[in-house]
Protein backbone atom coordinates (compact mmCIF):
# COMPACT_ATOMS: atom_id res chain seq x y z
CA UNK A 1 0.00 0.00 0.00
CA UNK A 2 1.84 3.06 -1.15
CA UNK A 3 0.82 6.00 -3.24
CA UNK A 4 3.29 8.77 -4.03
CA UNK A 5 2.33 12.42 -4.50
CA UNK A 6 4.56 15.32 -5.55
CA UNK A 7 2.89 18.68 -5.03
CA UNK A 8 4.55 21.86 -6.23
CA UNK A 9 8.06 20.51 -5.67
CA UNK A 10 10.95 22.84 -6.57
CA UNK A 11 14.65 22.38 -5.96
CA UNK A 12 17.20 25.15 -5.95
CA UNK A 13 20.87 24.27 -5.50
CA UNK A 14 22.47 27.34 -3.94
CA UNK A 15 25.73 28.34 -5.64
CA UNK A 16 28.86 29.49 -3.89
CA UNK A 17 29.23 32.67 -5.96
CA UNK A 18 32.08 33.55 -8.34
CA UNK A 19 30.93 31.67 -11.42
CA UNK A 20 29.19 29.02 -9.35
CA UNK A 21 25.65 30.30 -9.62
CA UNK A 22 22.54 28.88 -8.01
CA UNK A 23 20.85 26.22 -10.14
CA UNK A 24 17.10 25.81 -10.24
CA UNK A 25 16.87 22.11 -11.02
CA UNK A 26 13.11 21.57 -10.67
CA UNK A 27 10.21 23.96 -10.71
CA UNK A 28 6.74 23.28 -9.35
CA UNK A 29 6.61 19.59 -10.15
CA UNK A 30 3.30 17.94 -9.35
CA UNK A 31 2.17 14.42 -10.20
CA UNK A 32 1.09 11.25 -8.47
CA UNK A 33 1.84 7.54 -8.63
CA UNK A 34 -0.88 5.14 -7.53
CA UNK A 35 -0.28 2.15 -5.30
CA UNK A 36 1.46 -0.73 -7.14
CA UNK A 37 1.75 1.39 -10.23
CA UNK A 38 4.90 1.49 -12.36
CA UNK A 39 5.80 5.07 -13.22
CA UNK A 40 8.62 6.17 -15.52
CA UNK A 41 10.13 9.64 -15.52
CA UNK A 42 11.52 10.71 -18.89
CA UNK A 43 13.53 13.80 -19.67
CA UNK A 44 16.69 15.23 -21.11
CA UNK A 45 20.00 14.96 -19.35
CA UNK A 46 20.29 17.50 -16.56
CA UNK A 47 16.57 18.18 -16.25
CA UNK A 48 16.49 17.07 -12.62
CA UNK A 49 15.38 13.42 -12.77
CA UNK A 50 17.98 12.18 -10.30
CA UNK A 51 17.28 15.13 -8.04
CA UNK A 52 13.59 14.25 -8.05
CA UNK A 53 14.31 10.63 -7.16
CA UNK A 54 16.77 11.50 -4.38
CA UNK A 55 14.20 13.81 -2.84
CA UNK A 56 11.57 11.07 -2.99
CA UNK A 57 14.04 8.73 -1.27
CA UNK A 58 14.46 11.34 1.45
CA UNK A 59 18.17 12.11 0.98
CA UNK A 60 17.51 15.75 0.15
CA UNK A 61 14.69 18.12 1.05
CA UNK A 62 12.77 20.07 -1.62
CA UNK A 63 13.34 23.83 -1.56
CA UNK A 64 9.58 24.23 -1.70
CA UNK A 65 6.57 21.99 -2.12
CA UNK A 66 5.88 18.63 -0.52
CA UNK A 67 6.39 14.97 -1.27
CA UNK A 68 3.90 12.61 0.34
CA UNK A 69 3.93 8.83 0.48
CA UNK A 70 0.65 7.41 1.75
CA UNK A 71 -0.24 10.87 2.99
CA UNK A 72 2.90 11.12 5.13
CA UNK A 73 5.57 13.72 4.49
CA UNK A 74 8.91 12.37 3.24
CA UNK A 75 11.62 13.74 5.52
CA UNK A 76 14.23 10.99 5.79
CA UNK A 77 15.34 7.82 4.02
CA UNK A 78 13.80 4.52 5.05
CA UNK A 79 13.87 0.93 3.80
CA UNK A 80 10.22 1.44 2.81
CA UNK A 81 11.61 3.35 -0.19
CA UNK A 82 14.72 1.55 -1.36
CA UNK A 83 16.85 2.80 -4.23
CA UNK A 84 18.65 1.20 -7.18
CA UNK A 85 21.42 3.66 -7.99
CA UNK A 86 22.68 4.54 -11.45
CA UNK A 87 26.20 3.43 -10.47
CA UNK A 88 24.90 0.35 -8.57
CA UNK A 89 26.54 1.50 -5.28
CA UNK A 90 27.28 -2.08 -4.20
CA UNK A 91 29.50 -2.46 -1.14
CA UNK A 92 32.77 -3.67 -2.68
CA UNK A 93 33.91 -5.42 0.52
CA UNK A 94 30.82 -7.59 0.70
CA UNK A 95 29.98 -10.63 -1.38
CA UNK A 96 26.80 -10.77 -3.45
CA UNK A 97 25.10 -12.59 -0.59
CA UNK A 98 26.27 -10.11 2.03
CA UNK A 99 25.22 -7.14 -0.08
CA UNK A 100 21.71 -8.52 -0.41
CA UNK A 101 21.57 -9.42 3.28
CA UNK A 102 22.73 -5.99 4.46
CA UNK A 103 19.30 -4.37 4.63
CA UNK A 104 17.87 -7.44 6.35
CA UNK A 105 20.58 -7.25 9.01
CA UNK A 106 19.73 -3.61 9.56
CA UNK A 107 16.09 -4.68 9.98
CA UNK A 108 17.22 -7.35 12.48
CA UNK A 109 15.65 -10.15 10.50
CA UNK A 110 16.63 -13.46 12.20
CA UNK A 111 19.45 -15.33 10.53
CA UNK A 112 17.48 -18.28 9.20
CA UNK A 113 14.79 -16.11 7.69
CA UNK A 114 17.45 -13.81 6.31
CA UNK A 115 19.10 -16.66 4.50
CA UNK A 116 15.79 -17.74 2.97
CA UNK A 117 15.02 -14.21 1.74
CA UNK A 118 18.49 -13.81 0.27
CA UNK A 119 18.15 -17.10 -1.56
CA UNK A 120 14.74 -16.18 -2.92
CA UNK A 121 16.01 -12.84 -4.24
CA UNK A 122 19.11 -14.38 -5.77
CA UNK A 123 16.85 -16.77 -7.65
CA UNK A 124 14.56 -13.94 -8.67
CA UNK A 125 17.38 -12.13 -10.45
CA UNK A 126 19.04 -15.34 -11.63
CA UNK A 127 22.37 -15.11 -9.81
CA UNK A 128 22.55 -18.65 -8.44
CA UNK A 129 26.16 -19.77 -8.18
CA UNK A 130 27.53 -16.24 -7.69
CA UNK A 131 26.61 -15.85 -4.01
CA UNK A 132 30.19 -15.76 -2.81
CA UNK A 133 31.57 -13.45 -5.50
CA UNK A 134 32.64 -9.90 -4.83
CA UNK A 135 31.19 -7.07 -6.96
CA UNK A 136 34.48 -6.56 -8.83
CA UNK A 137 34.19 -10.13 -10.09
CA UNK A 138 30.82 -9.47 -11.74
CA UNK A 139 29.80 -8.00 -15.09
CA UNK A 140 27.84 -4.74 -15.24
CA UNK A 141 24.56 -6.54 -15.81
CA UNK A 142 25.16 -8.86 -12.87
CA UNK A 143 26.02 -5.95 -10.60
CA UNK A 144 22.79 -4.32 -11.64
CA UNK A 145 20.86 -7.45 -10.73
CA UNK A 146 22.54 -7.60 -7.32
CA UNK A 147 21.59 -4.00 -6.81
CA UNK A 148 17.95 -4.73 -7.67
CA UNK A 149 17.92 -7.83 -5.44
CA UNK A 150 19.41 -5.84 -2.58
CA UNK A 151 16.75 -3.16 -2.90
CA UNK A 152 13.94 -5.74 -3.16
CA UNK A 153 15.17 -7.88 -0.24
CA UNK A 154 14.11 -5.38 2.40
CA UNK A 155 10.58 -5.64 0.98
CA UNK A 156 10.11 -1.92 0.31
CA UNK A 157 6.77 -0.32 -0.40
CA UNK A 158 8.23 1.82 -3.18
CA UNK A 159 11.17 0.85 -5.37
CA UNK A 160 13.14 3.76 -6.85
CA UNK A 161 15.40 3.14 -9.84
CA UNK A 162 17.77 5.68 -11.40
CA UNK A 163 18.57 4.72 -14.99
CA UNK A 164 19.33 1.18 -13.87
CA UNK A 165 20.05 -0.08 -17.38
CA UNK A 166 21.86 2.96 -18.80
CA UNK A 167 25.36 1.60 -18.23
CA UNK A 168 24.66 -1.71 -19.98
CA UNK A 169 25.31 -2.57 -23.62
CA UNK A 170 22.29 -2.95 -25.90
CA UNK A 171 22.06 -6.72 -25.56
CA UNK A 172 22.33 -6.76 -21.79
CA UNK A 173 19.90 -3.91 -21.53
CA UNK A 174 17.10 -5.60 -23.46
CA UNK A 175 17.74 -8.77 -21.49
CA UNK A 176 17.46 -6.89 -18.19
CA UNK A 177 14.34 -5.07 -19.37
CA UNK A 178 12.78 -8.41 -20.20
CA UNK A 179 13.67 -9.73 -16.78
CA UNK A 180 12.27 -6.65 -15.15
CA UNK A 181 9.08 -7.23 -17.14
CA UNK A 182 9.04 -10.80 -15.83
CA UNK A 183 9.45 -9.60 -12.25
CA UNK A 184 6.65 -7.11 -12.82
CA UNK A 185 4.35 -9.73 -14.27
CA UNK A 186 4.76 -11.84 -11.17
CA UNK A 187 1.56 -11.96 -9.14
CA UNK A 188 3.57 -12.40 -5.93
CA UNK A 189 2.72 -9.39 -3.72
CA UNK A 190 6.27 -9.70 -2.34
CA UNK A 191 7.49 -8.65 -5.73
CA UNK A 192 4.78 -6.31 -6.97
CA UNK A 193 5.62 -2.83 -5.68
CA UNK A 194 5.00 0.77 -6.46
CA UNK A 195 7.90 1.60 -8.76
CA UNK A 196 9.42 4.82 -9.95
CA UNK A 197 11.93 4.50 -12.79
CA UNK A 198 14.09 7.30 -14.14
CA UNK A 199 15.19 6.74 -17.72
CA UNK A 200 16.40 8.25 -20.98
CA UNK A 201 14.85 5.55 -23.08
CA UNK A 202 11.35 5.98 -24.46
CA UNK A 203 11.16 2.28 -25.35
CA UNK A 204 12.10 1.25 -21.84
CA UNK A 205 9.46 3.55 -20.37
CA UNK A 206 6.69 2.17 -22.60
CA UNK A 207 7.82 -1.41 -22.17
CA UNK A 208 7.56 -1.31 -18.41
CA UNK A 209 5.26 1.48 -17.25
CA UNK A 210 1.65 2.05 -16.37
CA UNK A 211 2.33 5.77 -16.38
CA UNK A 212 4.94 7.98 -18.06
CA UNK A 213 5.84 11.44 -16.83
CA UNK A 214 7.76 13.62 -19.30
CA UNK A 215 9.81 16.47 -17.86
CA UNK A 216 10.87 19.67 -19.65
CA UNK A 217 14.43 20.83 -19.93
CA UNK A 218 15.95 22.48 -16.88
CA UNK A 219 14.34 23.69 -14.75
CA UNK A 220 12.31 20.50 -14.94
CA UNK A 221 8.52 20.83 -15.00
CA UNK A 222 5.94 18.23 -15.89
CA UNK A 223 5.53 18.47 -19.64
CA UNK A 224 3.01 15.65 -19.96
CA UNK A 225 1.64 12.70 -18.06
CA UNK A 226 0.46 9.67 -20.04
CA UNK A 227 -1.15 6.38 -19.11
CA UNK A 228 0.09 3.29 -20.91
CA UNK A 229 -2.84 0.91 -21.38
CA UNK A 230 -1.14 -1.60 -23.71
CA UNK A 231 -1.51 -5.26 -22.69
CA UNK A 232 1.56 -7.08 -21.35
CA UNK A 233 3.90 -8.53 -22.40
CA UNK A 234 4.56 -5.62 -24.73
CA UNK A 235 6.58 -5.73 -27.93
CA UNK A 236 8.38 -2.90 -29.61
CA UNK A 237 6.79 -3.81 -32.95
CA UNK A 238 3.15 -3.56 -31.74
CA UNK A 239 1.23 -0.77 -33.45
CA UNK A 240 0.07 0.69 -30.13
CA UNK A 241 3.65 0.71 -28.94
CA UNK A 242 4.89 2.52 -32.03
CA UNK A 243 2.09 5.06 -31.86
CA UNK A 244 2.80 5.92 -28.24
CA UNK A 245 6.51 6.05 -28.91
CA UNK A 246 5.94 8.61 -31.67
CA UNK A 247 3.75 10.69 -29.37
CA UNK A 248 6.32 10.78 -26.61
CA UNK A 249 9.10 11.43 -29.09
CA UNK A 250 7.18 14.46 -30.39
CA UNK A 251 6.73 15.70 -26.83
CA UNK A 252 10.43 15.44 -26.14
CA UNK A 253 11.38 16.73 -29.57
CA UNK A 254 9.41 19.88 -28.80
CA UNK A 255 11.86 20.36 -26.03
CA UNK A 256 14.78 20.23 -28.39
CA UNK A 257 13.67 23.52 -29.95
CA UNK A 258 15.69 26.30 -28.36
CA UNK A 259 13.74 27.92 -25.56
CA UNK A 260 15.35 31.32 -25.76
Amino acid sequence: MSAVAFSGVSKLFPGHGAGDEAVLALREVSFGVADQEFCSILGHSGCGKTTLLMMLAGFEAPSSGRILVDGRLVDRPTWRRSVVFQDYALFPWMTVEENIAFGLEMKRVPRAERRAIVRRNIELVGLQGFERRYPHQLSGGMKQRVSIARALAVDPEVLLMDEPFAALDAQNRSHMQEEMGRILASADPQVRKTMVLVTHSIEEAILLSDRVVVLTRRPGRVKAELRVELPRPRHESDSGFLELKQRIRDLIHDELEPEH
Binding site: A57, F59, P77, V83, W93
Partner: protein
Amino acid sequence: MRPGAHAAAHPASGERAQPLAGLQALLRRARRLGLLAALIAVWWYVSERVLDRSTRALLPPPQAVLRAAWDLTRSGELWHHLHDSLKRELVAFLWACTAIPLGIAMGSWKAVEEQVDPVIEMLRPVPPLAWIPLSILWFGIGDTQNEFIIFLGCFFPILVNTVSGVKGVETNLVRAARCLGANVWQILWRVVLRAALPQIVTGVRVGLGVGWMALVAAELVGANSGLGFLINDSRTILRTDYVIVGMATIGVVGFAIDRAIRIVVRRLMPWSQALAR
Protein backbone atom coordinates in the same frame (compact mmCIF):
# COMPACT_ATOMS: atom_id res chain seq x y z
CA MET B 1 54.01 -22.42 -29.57
CA ARG B 2 56.20 -25.35 -30.46
CA PRO B 3 54.47 -28.06 -32.47
CA GLY B 4 53.66 -31.18 -30.41
CA ALA B 5 55.45 -33.59 -32.79
CA HIS B 6 58.68 -31.70 -32.35
CA ALA B 7 58.51 -31.97 -28.57
CA ALA B 8 57.70 -35.68 -28.81
CA ALA B 9 60.77 -36.29 -30.96
CA HIS B 10 62.97 -34.96 -28.15
CA PRO B 11 61.37 -36.23 -24.95
CA ALA B 12 64.48 -35.41 -22.97
CA SER B 13 64.31 -31.72 -23.78
CA GLY B 14 60.94 -31.44 -22.04
CA GLU B 15 62.35 -32.98 -18.87
CA ARG B 16 65.45 -30.87 -18.89
CA ALA B 17 63.37 -27.70 -19.40
CA GLN B 18 62.07 -27.97 -15.84
CA PRO B 19 65.27 -27.45 -13.83
CA LEU B 20 66.49 -25.09 -16.54
CA ALA B 21 63.40 -22.92 -16.10
CA GLY B 22 63.96 -23.00 -12.34
CA LEU B 23 67.53 -21.85 -12.82
CA GLN B 24 66.40 -19.08 -15.14
CA ALA B 25 63.88 -17.84 -12.60
CA LEU B 26 66.59 -17.86 -9.97
CA LEU B 27 68.91 -15.89 -12.22
CA ARG B 28 66.17 -13.38 -12.97
CA ARG B 29 65.68 -12.87 -9.25
CA ALA B 30 69.40 -12.60 -8.65
CA ARG B 31 69.68 -9.95 -11.37
CA ARG B 32 67.48 -7.67 -9.29
CA LEU B 33 70.15 -7.76 -6.58
CA GLY B 34 72.82 -6.64 -9.04
CA LEU B 35 73.12 -3.07 -7.85
CA LEU B 36 73.13 -4.18 -4.22
CA ALA B 37 75.97 -6.59 -4.92
CA ALA B 38 77.90 -3.87 -6.76
CA LEU B 39 77.51 -1.48 -3.82
CA ILE B 40 78.75 -4.11 -1.41
CA ALA B 41 81.73 -4.71 -3.72
CA VAL B 42 82.52 -0.98 -3.69
CA TRP B 43 82.21 -0.99 0.08
CA TRP B 44 84.63 -3.89 0.30
CA TYR B 45 87.05 -2.22 -2.14
CA VAL B 46 87.07 1.11 -0.27
CA SER B 47 87.54 -0.57 3.07
CA GLU B 48 90.27 -3.03 2.03
CA ARG B 49 92.14 -1.11 -0.65
CA VAL B 50 91.55 2.63 -0.16
CA LEU B 51 91.66 2.84 3.62
CA ASP B 52 94.75 1.78 5.54
CA ARG B 53 95.20 0.24 8.98
CA SER B 54 94.79 3.54 10.81
CA THR B 55 91.58 4.62 9.08
CA ARG B 56 89.94 1.25 8.44
CA ALA B 57 87.96 1.57 11.70
CA LEU B 58 85.85 4.25 9.96
CA LEU B 59 84.50 1.71 7.50
CA PRO B 60 85.14 -1.90 8.42
CA PRO B 61 84.83 -4.35 5.49
CA PRO B 62 81.61 -6.39 4.96
CA GLN B 63 83.05 -9.58 6.39
CA ALA B 64 84.00 -7.80 9.62
CA VAL B 65 80.46 -6.47 9.91
CA LEU B 66 79.07 -9.96 9.35
CA ARG B 67 81.33 -11.27 12.09
CA ALA B 68 80.14 -8.49 14.40
CA ALA B 69 76.52 -9.37 13.58
CA TRP B 70 77.23 -12.98 14.46
CA ASP B 71 78.83 -11.97 17.76
CA LEU B 72 75.97 -9.66 18.70
CA THR B 73 73.38 -12.28 17.77
CA ARG B 74 75.11 -15.06 19.69
CA SER B 75 75.52 -12.95 22.81
CA GLY B 76 71.80 -12.06 22.63
CA GLU B 77 72.61 -8.37 22.66
CA LEU B 78 71.17 -7.63 19.22
CA TRP B 79 67.95 -9.46 20.05
CA HIS B 80 67.67 -7.57 23.34
CA HIS B 81 67.92 -4.18 21.60
CA LEU B 82 65.66 -5.21 18.72
CA HIS B 83 63.06 -6.50 21.18
CA ASP B 84 63.01 -3.21 23.11
CA SER B 85 62.74 -1.18 19.92
CA LEU B 86 59.93 -3.30 18.51
CA LYS B 87 58.04 -3.17 21.78
CA ARG B 88 58.20 0.63 21.79
CA GLU B 89 57.09 0.79 18.17
CA LEU B 90 54.15 -1.48 18.91
CA VAL B 91 52.98 0.37 22.04
CA ALA B 92 53.25 3.73 20.29
CA PHE B 93 51.45 2.38 17.24
CA LEU B 94 48.54 1.12 19.33
CA TRP B 95 48.19 4.57 20.88
CA ALA B 96 48.46 6.17 17.45
CA CYS B 97 45.51 4.09 16.26
CA THR B 98 43.32 6.57 18.15
CA ALA B 99 43.86 8.63 15.00
CA ILE B 100 41.43 6.29 13.20
CA PRO B 101 38.27 7.10 15.21
CA LEU B 102 39.34 10.74 15.40
CA GLY B 103 39.86 10.86 11.65
CA ILE B 104 36.49 9.23 11.01
CA ALA B 105 34.82 11.79 13.26
CA MET B 106 36.66 14.64 11.51
CA GLY B 107 35.76 13.32 8.08
CA SER B 108 32.11 12.80 9.01
CA TRP B 109 31.19 15.84 11.08
CA LYS B 110 32.08 19.36 10.09
CA ALA B 111 31.83 20.63 13.67
CA VAL B 112 34.54 18.21 14.84
CA GLU B 113 36.81 19.05 11.93
CA GLU B 114 36.45 22.78 12.49
CA GLN B 115 37.64 22.40 16.08
CA VAL B 116 40.36 19.82 15.63
CA ASP B 117 41.82 20.88 12.30
CA PRO B 118 43.59 24.10 13.45
CA VAL B 119 45.23 22.23 16.33
CA ILE B 120 46.38 19.43 14.06
CA GLU B 121 47.63 21.79 11.37
CA MET B 122 49.75 23.62 13.94
CA LEU B 123 51.22 20.45 15.44
CA ARG B 124 51.78 18.52 12.24
CA PRO B 125 54.65 20.58 10.78
CA VAL B 126 56.66 20.19 14.00
CA PRO B 127 58.90 17.17 13.35
CA PRO B 128 58.78 14.47 16.03
CA LEU B 129 62.50 15.04 16.62
CA ALA B 130 61.83 18.61 17.74
CA TRP B 131 59.83 17.13 20.61
CA ILE B 132 62.80 15.15 21.94
CA PRO B 133 64.22 17.81 24.30
CA LEU B 134 60.87 18.63 25.85
CA SER B 135 59.82 15.01 26.08
CA ILE B 136 63.04 14.08 27.90
CA LEU B 137 62.20 16.71 30.49
CA TRP B 138 58.65 15.42 30.75
CA PHE B 139 59.19 11.67 30.72
CA GLY B 140 62.90 11.25 31.47
CA ILE B 141 65.04 8.72 29.63
CA GLY B 142 63.41 5.43 28.66
CA ASP B 143 60.35 3.73 27.19
CA THR B 144 57.73 6.42 27.75
CA GLN B 145 59.74 9.17 26.14
CA ASN B 146 60.63 6.99 23.14
CA GLU B 147 57.06 5.85 22.74
CA PHE B 148 55.87 9.44 22.83
CA ILE B 149 58.19 10.37 19.96
CA ILE B 150 57.18 7.35 17.88
CA PHE B 151 53.55 8.09 18.63
CA LEU B 152 53.99 11.57 17.16
CA GLY B 153 55.60 10.13 14.06
CA CYS B 154 52.84 7.54 13.62
CA PHE B 155 49.78 9.58 14.53
CA PHE B 156 49.66 12.25 11.85
CA PRO B 157 50.04 10.11 8.73
CA ILE B 158 47.29 7.82 10.02
CA LEU B 159 45.05 10.78 10.83
CA VAL B 160 45.54 12.62 7.55
CA ASN B 161 44.94 9.49 5.49
CA THR B 162 41.87 8.50 7.51
CA VAL B 163 40.29 11.93 7.08
CA SER B 164 40.90 11.99 3.36
CA GLY B 165 39.74 8.36 3.03
CA VAL B 166 36.51 9.14 4.85
CA LYS B 167 35.87 12.25 2.78
CA GLY B 168 36.44 10.25 -0.37
CA VAL B 169 33.76 7.67 0.43
CA GLU B 170 31.24 7.67 -2.40
CA THR B 171 28.04 9.49 -1.47
CA ASN B 172 25.93 6.76 -3.02
CA LEU B 173 27.44 4.06 -0.79
CA VAL B 174 26.35 5.97 2.28
CA ARG B 175 22.98 6.71 0.70
CA ALA B 176 22.51 3.05 -0.17
CA ALA B 177 23.14 2.10 3.46
CA ARG B 178 20.77 4.80 4.70
CA CYS B 179 17.89 3.69 2.51
CA LEU B 180 18.50 0.09 3.58
CA GLY B 181 17.83 1.17 7.16
CA ALA B 182 21.30 1.69 8.65
CA ASN B 183 21.59 4.17 11.51
CA VAL B 184 24.50 6.57 12.05
CA TRP B 185 26.70 4.10 13.93
CA GLN B 186 26.02 1.29 11.51
CA ILE B 187 26.92 3.59 8.64
CA LEU B 188 30.20 4.61 10.30
CA TRP B 189 31.15 1.08 11.31
CA ARG B 190 29.84 -0.98 8.41
CA VAL B 191 30.28 1.43 5.51
CA VAL B 192 32.51 4.45 6.11
CA LEU B 193 35.24 2.55 7.97
CA ARG B 194 35.33 -0.25 5.38
CA ALA B 195 35.20 2.07 2.40
CA ALA B 196 38.04 4.17 3.82
CA LEU B 197 40.06 1.13 4.91
CA PRO B 198 42.43 0.97 1.92
CA GLN B 199 43.52 4.54 2.57
CA ILE B 200 43.65 4.04 6.34
CA VAL B 201 46.02 1.14 5.72
CA THR B 202 48.16 3.41 3.57
CA GLY B 203 48.28 5.78 6.54
CA VAL B 204 49.27 2.92 8.83
CA ARG B 205 52.10 1.91 6.51
CA VAL B 206 53.45 5.43 6.26
CA GLY B 207 52.93 5.97 9.99
CA LEU B 208 54.81 2.84 10.99
CA GLY B 209 57.65 3.85 8.69
CA VAL B 210 57.89 7.38 10.06
CA GLY B 211 57.51 6.01 13.60
CA TRP B 212 60.36 3.55 13.05
CA MET B 213 62.62 6.37 11.88
CA ALA B 214 61.61 8.59 14.79
CA LEU B 215 62.20 5.68 17.18
CA VAL B 216 65.83 5.39 16.28
CA ALA B 217 66.35 9.13 16.68
CA ALA B 218 64.62 9.08 20.06
CA GLU B 219 66.76 6.17 21.21
CA LEU B 220 69.97 7.86 20.09
CA VAL B 221 69.60 10.35 22.91
CA GLY B 222 66.86 9.18 25.22
CA ALA B 223 67.27 5.48 25.95
CA ASN B 224 69.40 2.84 27.64
CA SER B 225 68.47 0.15 25.17
CA GLY B 226 67.17 -0.28 21.65
CA LEU B 227 68.76 -0.19 18.21
CA GLY B 228 69.30 3.57 18.32
CA PHE B 229 71.03 3.21 21.66
CA LEU B 230 73.18 0.37 20.30
CA ILE B 231 74.36 2.58 17.45
CA ASN B 232 75.19 5.54 19.62
CA ASP B 233 76.74 3.49 22.39
CA SER B 234 78.95 1.64 19.91
CA ARG B 235 80.06 4.95 18.44
CA THR B 236 81.40 6.13 21.80
CA ILE B 237 83.63 3.07 21.96
CA LEU B 238 84.45 3.34 18.24
CA ARG B 239 82.95 -0.04 17.33
CA THR B 240 81.90 1.02 13.81
CA ASP B 241 81.17 -2.61 12.93
CA TYR B 242 78.47 -2.67 15.65
CA VAL B 243 77.16 0.69 14.40
CA ILE B 244 76.72 -0.72 10.92
CA VAL B 245 75.08 -3.89 12.27
CA GLY B 246 72.58 -1.70 14.12
CA MET B 247 71.89 0.38 11.03
CA ALA B 248 71.43 -2.68 8.84
CA THR B 249 69.03 -4.20 11.36
CA ILE B 250 66.96 -1.02 11.36
CA GLY B 251 66.76 -1.11 7.57
CA VAL B 252 65.88 -4.79 7.31
CA VAL B 253 63.26 -4.68 10.07
CA GLY B 254 61.63 -1.54 8.66
CA PHE B 255 61.41 -3.22 5.28
CA ALA B 256 60.03 -6.41 6.84
CA ILE B 257 57.30 -4.54 8.74
CA ASP B 258 56.10 -2.88 5.53
CA ARG B 259 56.13 -6.17 3.63
CA ALA B 260 54.23 -7.92 6.43
CA ILE B 261 51.48 -5.30 6.32
CA ARG B 262 51.17 -5.63 2.57
CA ILE B 263 50.78 -9.39 2.85
CA VAL B 264 48.18 -9.12 5.62
CA VAL B 265 46.24 -6.54 3.60
CA ARG B 266 46.22 -8.72 0.52
CA ARG B 267 44.75 -11.52 2.63
CA LEU B 268 42.16 -9.47 4.47
CA MET B 269 41.02 -7.17 1.68
CA PRO B 270 40.99 -9.08 -1.59
CA TRP B 271 38.49 -6.56 -2.93
CA SER B 272 40.77 -3.57 -2.39
CA GLN B 273 43.54 -5.11 -4.49
CA ALA B 274 41.14 -5.32 -7.39
CA LEU B 275 40.00 -1.77 -6.82
CA ALA B 276 43.52 -0.43 -6.89
CA ARG B 277 44.33 -2.21 -10.13
